[in-house]
Symmetry: C2
DNA sequence: AAAGAGGCTGAAAACGATTTCAACAACTGG
DNA sequence: CCAGTTGTTGAAATCGTTTTCAGCCTCTTT
C-alpha cells in the first residue's frame, strides 16, 4: 500500500540507513545518492513524519496558541510567526482558545502530547497566573499578554503608555469627560486601564472605566445605554478592535455622529478603521515585530534554557484620524 | 527524562499493554484500571502522539488549506470546520497558501507526510485543474473553489446566481453602466464574472469586467484610475471583501460619495461593510454551512471512498444597504 | 610495508505506543 | 466431571524512521 523507506532501499539496492542519510544530506557517495534519488522519484516515497519525530525525538514543531483567530490582530501576528518559523525550518500548530480557560488547558495538554519544541502563547488573565507554578517540558513565550510575576519570556505592547497617549491626545483636542472600555479577559485590558486612569488623574480628570467581555456586542450594548440614558461622555477609548466596532455600531443605530456627539479612539489599526465615519483614531500595534520577536525569543531560549527571563516591550504608534479631531485637518473624504 | 508508557506500567505493576488498554477504555478490570489511573496521575504521563500515530496508522488529523487566513471569509469557514472536526475527534492542521501555487504544492506534500486522513482545500485556479490527474492517498473536499471537471467533492457558493442578483438589484435601482472587478486567482472570480456578464446581457447592457490580483491595492488602483480619467461607471460590483475595501478607499481618497458618485455592491458580509459610508450592499455567504458541510462530506467520503462525487452548491443572501440605494429607505445613521 | 586515519556502508537497536496472540482463570452447559 | 466459552492479562511483534556501531576499503604517514 503505502511506500516506506525499505521499499526505496530495495529498489535502489542499498540499505535503509543509506536512504535516510541520502535524504538528510549525510555522507553518501554521489553514485548511491543518485540511485536513491531515482528510487524516491520512481516510488513516490514520502517520509512518515510521525516515525521521524518518534525516532529523532524532535518534533520540529512549535505551538501557537491565540485567544481569537478572527481578531485581525492575532491573524497578523500569526502570519509573522509562521513566516519566521518557516525560515527556521519549523512547523506551526495554530490553536484558538476563544478566551476559554478550558480550551487553553486542553491545548497546552495537546502541545505536550505533540512534543512540540516550544510554544508562543497569548493566555487569558485567568490562566497567566498559573503558568509560573505549572512547568512544561517546552519553553513558552507569551505574546500580547503577560503579568509581572510569571517567569516566562514575553513580548508585549507598552499598553500603559499607549493608553496614556490616547488620553493626552483627546485632552489636547479639548475633551474632558473621557470614558474607557477595557477587556476583562486579558492582562492588556488591565494595563490599558491603568494607563488611562493614571493619565486622566494627571490632567485632573475623573476616570470612568468599564470592564467588558471581549465581544462587539458587549461594547455596543454599553454605548447604546449611554445614548438611551442621555449620559454619554464626550469621548471614549476602546481597548481593542471589537470594542471599537461595537461603539461605532451603537452610534450608527442611535444616529450619532463622530466626533460631534462622541469622539472615538481605540486600539488596533485594522483596515476598516480608516473607512468608518471620518476615520478612527487608533493605536497601531507593531504586529509584525511582535510575531518576529516572539519567534526570536523562542529560538534563543531553545539555545540557552538557563538564560535570564526576558520581556520585550514594544511601543505603539498613534494614528490620528477624524474621529477625535474637533477642527477637521485630516483629508477625510465624504464617502 | 520524559515519562513513557513503560514507566506508568512499572509503577502500576502491570504490563504496558494493560496501560494502553486502560487509557483507551478497553477490557480491563476495575482494580487494575484504578491502579493505572493512579500511576498516570503520579507520573504526569502524556501519551506520545507520534508513537500512537505511527503504530495505529491513523493520524486522526485533517488538513485545512486556505488561500488567505487574513480574509475573514476563510477565518469564518475555518472556525466552522474546526468546531465540526473537534466534535468528530479530529485535529486540524491549518495551512495558508497566500494564493501561491508553490506553497500549495508544498502543503499538499506536507499533508502526505503527516499522513492526514483527509483534506479540506480552497485551491487556486492554477492548481485546481491538476488535482484530477494527481492522486493523493487521502480524500479531498474542495471549498469555495472548484472547477466543473475535477473529480473531487466540493461545497461552493452559487456564484453565478449571486453575481446575477447583484446586477438585477443595481438595474432595479436604475443603474446601467455597471462595472465588475473579479479575482484572477480563483475559479469563483471566473464564475462570478460569467454570472455578471450573462445578467448584464439579459438587460441589454454592456459588461465591463476586469480581472485583478486578489489584493486591496489592485482594486484601489483600478478605481482610482476611473476617477482620474473621469471615466467612472455608475456602479461597480466587487468580487470579494478585498476589492470592496479597495474601491471604498479609492473613493475616499478622491472625495467621492456613495452612491451618488458610484454605487458599490460586492461579496462577503464582513462586519465593517455595515459601517463604511452608508453601508455596503453585499452577498452574504453561508460561511458556517460551508465549513460544516465540507467536514460532513469529508467524513462521509472516508466512510465510503467509492461513492459518487458530490458537489454541494449553496445560495447566497443579498444584503441591501445604502451604497446602492438611490432613495434612502435604509436606516443608515450619520456616523 | 605496516599502522593509523578517515570515509562509506549496512546490520541492528532504538523511539513509544498499539495490537496480535497465546495463556490462564473462571464459568457455563451438557 | 469435562469440554468449551468468556474475559483479563502479558509477552512480543510491529509501525517507519534515525542513529549507533562495527566493518571494510582506501589513503596517508612513517
Amino acid at each position: 500500500m503505502t511506500v516506506s523507506i525499505k521499499d526505496v532501499a530495495a529498489m535502489a539496492q542499498v540499505s535503509p540507513a543509506t536512504v535516510s542519510r541520502a535524504l538528510a544530506g549525510g555522507p553518501v557517495s554521489a553514485e548511491l545518492r543518485a540511485k536513491v534519488e531515482a528510487a524516491v522519484k520512481a516510488t513516490g516515497y514520502r517520509p512518515n513524519l510521525s516515525a521521524r519525530r518518534l525516532r529523532s525525538r524532535d518534533s520540529q514543531t512549535i505551538g501557537l496558541i491565540v485567544a481569537d483567530i478572527s481578531n485581525p490582530f492575532f491573524t497578523a501576528v500569526s502570519r509573522a510567526v509562521e513566516d519566521e518559523a518557516y525560515k527556521a525550518g519549523l512547523r506551526v500548530i495554530l490553536c484558538n482558545t476563544d478566551e476559554n480557560p478550558d480550551k487553553e488547558e486542553m491545548y497546552l495538554k495537546l502541545m505536550e502530547e505533540e512534543r512540540v519544541t516550544g510554544v508562543i502563547y497569548a493566555p487569558t488573565r485567568a490562566t497567566v497566573g498559573k503558568l509560573t507554578r505549572q512547568s512544561f517540558n517546552f519553553p513558552i513565550v507569551l505574546i500580547d499578554r503577560a503579568d509581572a510575576v510569571s517567569g516566562q519570556d514575553a513580548v508585549v505592547l507598552d499598553n500603559f503608555a499607549a493608553a496614556a497617549m490616547l488620553v493626552e491626545h483627546l485632552h489636547s483636542q479639548g475633551y474632558r469627560r473621557i470614558a474607557g472600555l477595557f477587556g476583562n479577559a486579558s492582562t492588556t485590558g488591565v494595563e490599558r486601564r491603568t494607563g488611562y486612569e493614571e493619565a486622566m488623574r494627571r490632567f485632573g480628570l475623573t476616570p470612568q472605566a468599564r470592564f467588558l467581555a471581549p465581544s462587539i456586542e458587549a461594547a455596543e450594548k454599553e454605548a447604546a445605554s449611554w445614548f438611551n440614558s442621555g449620559s454619554a461622555p464626550e469621548a471614549v477609548i476602546a481597548s481593542n478592535g471589537l470594542f471599537l466596532m461595537g461603539v461605532v455600531r451603537a452610534m450608527r443605530a442611535a444616529g450619532k455622529s463622530m466626533p460631534r456627539d462622541l469622539a472615538v479612539a481605540g486600539f488596533d489599526n485594522e483596515s476598516w478603521t480608516e473607512l468608518a465615519g471620518p476615520g478612527l483614531t487608533v493605536i497601531e500595534q507593531p504586529v509584525n515585530a511582535i510575531g518576529r520577536t516572539a519567534m526570536q525569543l523562542l529560538l534563543e531560549r531553545l539555545e540557552d534554557p538557563d538564560a535570564p527571563r526576558r520581556k520585550v516591550v514594544l511601543g505603539g504608534r498613534c494614528v490620528i484620524r477624524g474621529s477625535t479631531q474637533t477642527q477637521q485637518t485630516s483629508t477625510a473624504g465624504a464617502a
